[in-house]
Amino acid sequence: MNSALHDLRLYAEPRTPWPGAELALEVEHLSHSYGARKALNDVSFRAGAATFTVLLGLNGAGKSTLFALITRLFNAQAGGIHIFGHELRRQPGEALRRLGVVFQARTLDLDLSVWQNLLYHAALHGMSGREARERAGRVLAQVSLGSRAQEKARNLSGGQMRRVEIARALLHGPKLLLLDEPTVGLDIEARADIVRHVRRLVASEGLSVLWATHLIDEVADSDHAVVLHNGVVRAQGRVSAIVAAAGAQDIGGAFHLLTQGAAGGEVGE
């Protein structure tokens, strides 16, 4: 059963983006269950430094669970995670200080101003005074919201809040940025705006990005992708390689092929 898919996993599995490349994130044999429900099943993948990696999966695929584990909200029941070589369990501080996160749910403090939200985050990373203010000013200007700094977060639009969250995630200078469905609920323009901004950071500042989404149009051919379905990695590698291995026209077709038929059950491994 599912032999075609099984083959595909082998095809598209050059695990390291390129030989000798620095790894931003390394996830190995990660499994996690909520009670009897298996949310992640032996998930392994790598994301190279200065790379835009898309984590592609439908609702319930396990994307947010994976993010919860990478951000150490709780430990995985099995498997390991390295962030720039730091094992998350043994060196949580070293791993987390290299990590910036935009969660799926909005997490700005609505009662505080944008600026206060940023300074609070800076403090949570041990930054204060001039250093914190300079960095906050810079990241806010990057997302073109410098003029809204003193406003309450509550007064921002959804897209603006997302941009502030991205600015906040970058405030402490992380090397790896995780974003969990950052464009959900935004209009086309705001979406494009955010995708463009984050891609620019990868190109110009060498940031590593793991971008979780179910929206095919956010994937570019040159990206790396990890296709997650029902807690199992169904394919990973360069998008063009995944498309070719799946025998599809484009990533949309490949995603469709990879995520159909296996609902509820596990893919034969």
């Binding site: 909200l73 791993a95 997490t107 949570l124």
Partner: protein, 286 residues
């Protein structure tokens, strides 16, 4: 398996300096204080609740309930004076439940996640959060005491200072209790549940409204329950401290409970235990 991680060695400085710890802790307290200032309704309702007890309940019972001279009091006292320490403890209990539970269930969903993804050790983050909540509860307590003063609840002036350490301890105890509950209890999804199952029982089955010896005369089992209730000991610790005295037993119980609740809360939020994973927790999917 990846064995060698050369980048681990070349990477920048490790760990945090003491100054950075201070920055982080101060930031957590600062945010809590800002939220407190911005949420005036919360402040007002935190004050109205005990004031209703003081103005209405206590005034009504003033005639029917005489309080004999019991330590720490040295004279006959009106009932209003008797219930004030219990009301101070109630303010702190409410605050502890509210700040911890709102972290998880209310609008604040997700703020716990923002906090926990900080690279500082988790015990430090949670302790800072507790200290912050305690400071806010102490502000509320002093505001209440100021109003109560006009209602002729006038402890000795030095009492306003000597009560402070007691307030710190009981504030930490209730904050830690709230944090523990927020991580453990899956059924009590809202504040009403906490009111019914935690706040009311703790408040009523305590020495807040009647001296324990009166309870003992009325019902021995109830007396035992009151005596085992940590709230009783927080209220007594505050009562004695307000008159410049120390109740060693209460101090021991409050210290012990604070340690146990805090260890429990930190343990419950330990990523290895994964307790928060068991429910749709802080900001997972909104």
């Amino acid at each position: 398996m990846s064995m060698a991680h050369p980048s681990a060695v070349v990477n920048s400085r490790q760990g945090f300096s003491l100054a950075q710890y201070l920055t982080c802790g101060r930031g957590i307290v600062w945010r809590e204080a800002l939220r407190f200032l911005h949420q005036r309704e919360r402040f007002v309702s935190a004050l109205v609740r005990p004031l209703v007890w003081l103005f209405i309940f206590a005034a009504g019972f003033r005639q029917s309930l005489g309080i004999a001279i019991i330590p720490p009091y040295e004279t006959y006292i009106p009932y209003e004076v008797y219930i004030v320490p219990g009301l101070l403890a109630m303010i702190q209990l409410f605050n502890g439940m509210q700040s911890s539970l709102s972290m998880v269930y209310d609008r604040e969903t997700g703020s716990m996640r923002t906090l926990l993804v900080s690279p500082f050790p988790r015990w430090f983050l949670l302790s800072s959060k507790l200290v912050a909540g305690t400071l806010v509860s102490i502000l509320q307590v002093y505001a209440f005491l100021a109003i109560a003063w006009f209602w002729e609840v006038e402890p000795p002036l030095t009492g306003y200072f000597t009560v402070l350490p007691a307030l710190v301890l009981s504030g930490l105890m209730f904050g830690a209790l709230g944090m523990l509950l927020s991580s453990l209890i899956k059924q009590l999804e809202n504040f009403a549940g906490i009111m019914n199952f935690v706040i009311f029982p703790m408040f009523f089955a305590s020495s807040a409204l009647y001296p324990l010896w009166q309870v003992q005369q009325a019902s021995l089992p109830l007396f035992r329950i009151c005596w085992l209730n940590p709230f009783t000991h927080a209220a007594e610790l505050i009562r004695f401290a307000l008159y410049g005295k120390l109740d060693p037993l209460s101090l021991a119980v409050v210290l012990g409970c604070t340690a146990v609740f805090m260890a429990g809360a930190i343990g419950a939020y330990d990523p290895a235990r994964g307790l928060i994973a068991l429910r749709r927790g802080p900001g997972g999917n909104g």
